[in-house]
């Protein structure tokens, strides 16, 4: 019986976030199981990024707690994409993957091909467009075995085809037993996407 239950990858209990003496959210509960994708919604300034950063461990937790029952690794791609202007796409991926599981050049070239950057492998990132730089950052999705992805606005700066491709990668990751928590202002076209609306959560909490 327990083996048929999907594993819980992330559990947040009674989480609260306060920035500059303003309560962004409180009493927030979130359980993310393997194979699930959670879309955090809310207007600008609702605390979407803060929530992701709290989960990733980049913001202090004022109240409540975040736990990872399986103690698995996490891939966090923030709004700032950590792409260095003076390095090529390939070199950027090399140092970013070296922080976790190092990759070889073949793997990186293949990942760049998957994100549609074939032929740009050795181009300096300063010469890439905003969308292309985003794609370099997203190539990490194909180089990382972390089951839990935390993605802050992964769809911004991407073209229509890019957004469709990206959602296909998300679906693949979910099929392989991974889980995703992401923020976005766009609606996702993935079956079974779960929605966490910070604005609505705050309204009910304050009543």
């Amino acid at each position: 019986m327990p083996s048929t239950m999907p594993d819980i990858l992330l559990q947040a209990l009674d989480l609260a976030c306060e920035r500059d003496e303003r309560m962004l959210f409180k009493g927030l509960n979130l359980t993310v199981k393997a194979g699930e994708i959670w879309h955090i919604k809310g207007p600008n300034g609702a605390g979407k990024t803060s929530l992701l950063r709290q989960i990733a461990g980049l913001l202090p937790i004022f109240q409540g707690n975040v736990s990872f029952p399986l103690d698995q690794s996490i891939l966090y791609i923030g709004h700032k994409s950590a792409i260095k202007d003076q390095l090529s796409a390939n070199e950027n991926l090399a140092w970013l993957t070296a922080l976790g599981v190092p990759s070889d050049e073949n793997q990186r070239y293949r990942a760049l091909e998957k994100v549609g950057l074939r032929g740009y492998e050795e181009t300096m990132s300063a010469q890439l467009s905003a969308g292309q730089r985003r794609r370099v950052a997203l190539a990490r999705l194909h180089l990382n075995a972390a089951p839990l992805w935390l993605l802050d606005e992964p769809l911004t700066a991407m073209d229509k085809q890019g957004i469709a491709d990206e959602q296909a990668w998300f679906a693949d990751h979910l099929k392989q037993g991974g889980a995703i928590v992401l923020t976005s202002h766009q609606d996702l076209d993935i079956p079974g996407v779960q929605i966490l609306d910070l604005h609505a959560a705050m309204e009910t909490a304050s009543c």
């Binding site: 996490i74 700032k80 260095k84 202007d85 003076q86 922080l99 976790g100 190092p102």
Partner: protein
């Protein structure tokens, strides 16, 4: 963990090679200050040889101070720092890797240039090995203490001035023992004691600053 440090060092050296101005700036400042000093004060050999050690050390100290601002700033601005802090590797390893690069780029060139500029200031040839050794031990200490200041102001918009205020008091002992050693060497007195103090300060800095800078980086990231 060594692999992590190696990859950070490799990346940062590559970045410096692509952008050599960052490496040349402190060195140019160092050489210019020393070259201008005799013009402003007096070209007289006896006066210059007395002040040579102090001028070289002060110029090295200020050149290091100028280069500190960029230590973590770019990584903070483009989001690299949060990726570097999210790894399973300890943050002090990151600090040590960054300091090694900082010293190789801004400290080592000063040490290598110092015999030349000291000769320009008529420092007696006997005292030059002492100056060289003192700078060799002293400049890594300056980089280490500087890393704490740079880490504390990563999130601050114009932190350059603040770094100087935070770090300068820690630099004074290094300056005193560094110049003291050269003064003793000029007089033909033993310099072992001075070197021992400089070495002790380096060991102290190695023990304390990576941890302190790592804590400061994490706190700064949490605010941002």
């Amino acid at each position: 963990m060594l692999g992590f440090m190696y990859s950070v060092i490799r990346r940062d050296l590559l970045l410096v090679m692509r952008h050599p101005a960052e490496m040349v700036n402190p060195l140019v400042f160092f050489v210019l200050v020393i070259a201008l000093f005799p013009m402003g004060v007096s070209p007289e050999a006896s006066l210059l040889s007395q002040t040579a050690a102090g001028v070289v050390w002060v110029a090295a100290l200020l050149a290091t101070l100028l280069s500190l601002d960029i230590l973590f700033k770019a990584d903070y601005a483009d989001g690299s720092l949060e990726q570097l802090l999210l790894t399973s590797h300890p943050a002090w390893a990151l600090v040590i890797a960054k300091v090694i690069v900082h010293w190789l780029v801004s400290g080592l060139p000063l040490v290598i240039m110092s015999p030349l500029v000291a000769t320009m200031l008529f420092l007696p040839a006997d005292a030059i090995p002492t100056l060289l050794l003192g700078l060799l031990i002293g400049t890594p200490t300056l980089s280490l203490f500087g890393a704490v200041g740079a880490a504390l102001v990563t999130g601050v918009k114009s932190g350059g001035m603040l770094i100087s205020l935070l770090v300068l008091p820690l630099y004074i002992p290094v300056l005193l023992f560094g110049t003291g050693a050269v003064a003793a060497a000029v007089l033909g007195m033993p310099v072992g004691g001075y070197m021992a103090y400089l070495g002790a300060m380096l060991v102290f800095a190695l023990m304390v600053t990576p941890w302190a800078a790592a804590t400061a980086l994490k706190v700064g990231q949490m605010q941002g």
